[in-house]
Subunit: 307 residues, 2 copies
Amino acid sequence: MTAKFGKVALLGIGLIGSSMAHAIRRAGAAEHIAGYSHRAETLEVARGLGFADSLSTNPVECVKDADLVVLATPVGAFGELAEKIAPHLKKGAILSDVGSVKGAVIRDVGPFVPDGVHFIPAHPIAGTEQSGPSAGFAELFDGRWCILTPVPATSDAAVEKLKAFWQALGSQVEVMDARRHDLVLAITSHVPHLIAYNIVGTADDLETVTEGEVIKFSAGGFRDFTRIAASDPTMWRDVFLNNKEAVLEILGRFSEDLFHLQRAIRWSDGDTLFDLFTRTRAIRRSIIDAGQDTPAPNFGRGEKKDK
Amino acid sequence: MTAKFGKVALLGIGLIGSSMAHAIRRAGAAEHIAGYSHRAETLEVARGLGFADSLSTNPVECVKDADLVVLATPVGAFGELAEKIAPHLKKGAILSDVGSVKGAVIRDVGPFVPDGVHFIPAHPIAGTEQSGPSAGFAELFDGRWCILTPVPATSDAAVEKLKAFWQALGSQVEVMDARRHDLVLAITSHVPHLIAYNIVGTADDLETVTEGEVIKFSAGGFRDFTRIAASDPTMWRDVFLNNKEAVLEILGRFSEDLFHLQRAIRWSDGDTLFDLFTRTRAIRRSIIDAGQDTPAPNFGRGEKKDK
Ligand SMILES: NC(=O)c1ccc[n+]([C@@H]2O[C@H](COP(=O)([O-])OP(=O)(O)OC[C@H]3O[C@@H](n4cnc5c(N)ncnc54)[C@H](OP(=O)(O)O)[C@@H]3O)[C@@H](O)[C@H]2O)c1
Ligand SMILES: NC(=O)c1ccc[n+]([C@@H]2O[C@H](COP(=O)([O-])OP(=O)(O)OC[C@H]3O[C@@H](n4cnc5c(N)ncnc54)[C@H](OP(=O)(O)O)[C@@H]3O)[C@@H](O)[C@H]2O)c1
């Protein structure tokens, strides 16, 4: 199975779209990379960076003759985009996306997919807190997972083709159904982002502690949350609006567990605290063993010079 | 004001104690560094690393003739240690600590401080998720803040001396009262750690998502929380047991705010989400401007090669 496509159309060339372009170039996984963005300024920046062979503010123009079309805007824009491009998709093409939620994408995009086009939703589990076309880099997907959530009727050959493509971009690939994806990501990504945004908001609202104090003494742990809470607002608004059910379910569990800890603190139950704090270390070790993070101490932010 | 002491006794030579030893050496801020640890194995490791001039499992031996004594064990051990060493402290010496809470330290240690000894609680706002004597490094305190919380009766000269010492170790120094310290740190450090431990615990307990899935797909944000939740269990148990009031107050605010977000998600109120997610970015920028974090994108964990 060759990972190579003729023309790949990236609808959205922010962090993820531009990183895909860089990784496609590195892998030689396409003959032509076409990029679309809705603002001319973004195209200007992309042109300067040179990661695409053609650029347009017209999505229809962008998808013309494309063998692979990837939706890479915030998910809230997928439905409208899909409606616009659907009549212009090439027969036999694969239509995919990189959205952080999958059930809603199938709901919004699925109805527009014409006969003879293979619709395979995808989500690369990789990112940074930065956004826009200059934030992208070829190595973003290396060693990370990409989840495909094809509906049952999807052609196996098309799934295999997209799988080989993401592997060529550096990813490992997993296939699961959209519902499961949305639940797993609610705990490994969506709720963590929500509580990071929330604690930063709480700090900002406190009348008893000044913003200057929060900033000065942020190295005690808070700054790590601000990093996550610096992620793109539009993207994350769309994620929460489109994965309500799973996010609310996990949030309920989180709050229940937090009340349990709060009670342990109130009643000086040190054992409950100690047991949890010990258990969480094992998960950290497994993540490092699985190659999904580095063991280098990071709170010190790499200032260590002698090791 | 010279930053230099004759003998400095470090009671506890884990991450913070050993980092102090390295930083003292680098600055030439002491003629003799004495280290104490309660387990012989820890001393063995420290001996191999060579950051102390003398090492002992006897705290009384360690503080003999010391001009500066620093408590650097988990805060739950401070009271007992203080009681043991108090009668053996040199007249005119400074007794300090590095504990992450300050009101409880004044409560537990204060009553044992003999006349003629200057007791000045301190807290360097710097750390990593690792612990033990091999985790230490000289640069840990560079550019970070150290908070001193002397009680009103404390000699100004002694405070100035300790201030100069921490500056020599690379820190900026701020003086505030213990109550304020405990409130500020509850929001910038203690509650962030608690919610990180909590979300990792919630993930571990879910019956609907496997541990394997959580680990594989942790790069979506979760892995950053596991880093924080890998911090030392004993240290953090002691922090929460000893800063109850402020932690419970901030936790109450955090939960209230989280319910507000939860409701916004349930009722598809995208504007509330978008507004918060935008506001939090400004705080991130201020932290970077204040030199308390680097702007380099970190979710990608430095895999970016071309920039
Ligand atoms: N960031 C992550 O960590 C991450 C990880 C995995 C998946 N994802 C998913 O990847 C997708 C893109 O995220 P990103 O981080 O690459 O975002 P980004 O850097 O903000 O880029 C978004 C792109 O979409 C375009 N766009 C925004 N709103 C649009 C609209 N209403 N109509 C048409 N185009 C629009 C932007 O164009 P202009 O610049 O011209 O406005 C830009 O090209 C999202 O669906 C997100 O869920 C993100
Ligand atoms: N880690 C941080 O991010 C950070 C930041 C600022 C302040 N602090 C504060 O610094 C202090 C030390 O933290 P750390 O990170 O350096 O911890 P650490 O690396 O775990 O080291 C703790 C040290 O205390 C000793 N110790 C532990 N329990 C003891 C007991 N019951 N009696 C006597 N000695 C005992 C240990 O000896 P053995 O190895 O022999 O058991 C070790 O030398 C804590 O009070 C903490 O609140 C920590």
